[in-house]
Amino acid sequence: MTAVTQSQVKTSKLDWMVPASVAGFIVAYFGARILMKIPDLPRALYFAAALLPAPAFLWFLWSMARVQKHADELQRRIQLEALAIAWPLSLAIVMTVSLLQKAGFLGWEPMWVYLPSTYFVGLIWAVRRYQ
């Protein structure tokens, strides 16, 4: 029981890390885009700017892994079902947008922006299923 309680305490301590790391990634990503719009910088600085969001993303991956490690069986199942929905939905979006781009109906767009939304669609569906 003590070990379980400690695990739950660890989980609650980790709760803030996922949103914090996502916020860090968003700030770093848009910061990098602003830096890359500055003309005539040394090429090494553009390279550094492109890699600016990477540490925040690694932090996000680490915090998600820690949360999963301390999740209980239903929470893990919810995550699995969310991903099971997100994966084919992401594929459908990428394929459709790609074809629309090829057909000339859409210009170049960073498609990754749409992909996290499919995870949240899956997550909301899975959470509601067990409520």
Binding site: Q8, D72, E73, L74, Y130, Q131
Partner: protein, 76 residues
């Protein structure tokens, strides 16, 4: 799967949070099991049986007989 978890918990005046803490799971998990939206794993079912000092089949009825699980006897 039909189960008597809510009754057994109420008999002990435990909240869902109390039971969740004793079993090391989230309150959401207890609620999902009580509302029969989620069937627990075998290890969790064993933990529940141990906690209530009952057999697993006294708590869970896989055949969904609404009266079937009402005959449970506590193990001495």
């Amino acid at each position: 799967m039909k189960n008597r978890l809510r009754i057994l918990r109420a008999e002990r005046n435990w909240t869902q949070g109390d039971l969740a803490e004793r079993l090391g799971v989230s309150r959401q998990t207890i609620n999902a099991i009580e509302t029969e939206k989620y069937d627990p794993s075998l290890p969790l079912a064993f933990d529940m049986a141990r906690l209530f000092a009952m057999s697993i089949e006294s708590i869970f009825d896989p055949y969904g007989d609404p009266n079937g699980s009402g005959t449970a006897k506590e193990e001495k």
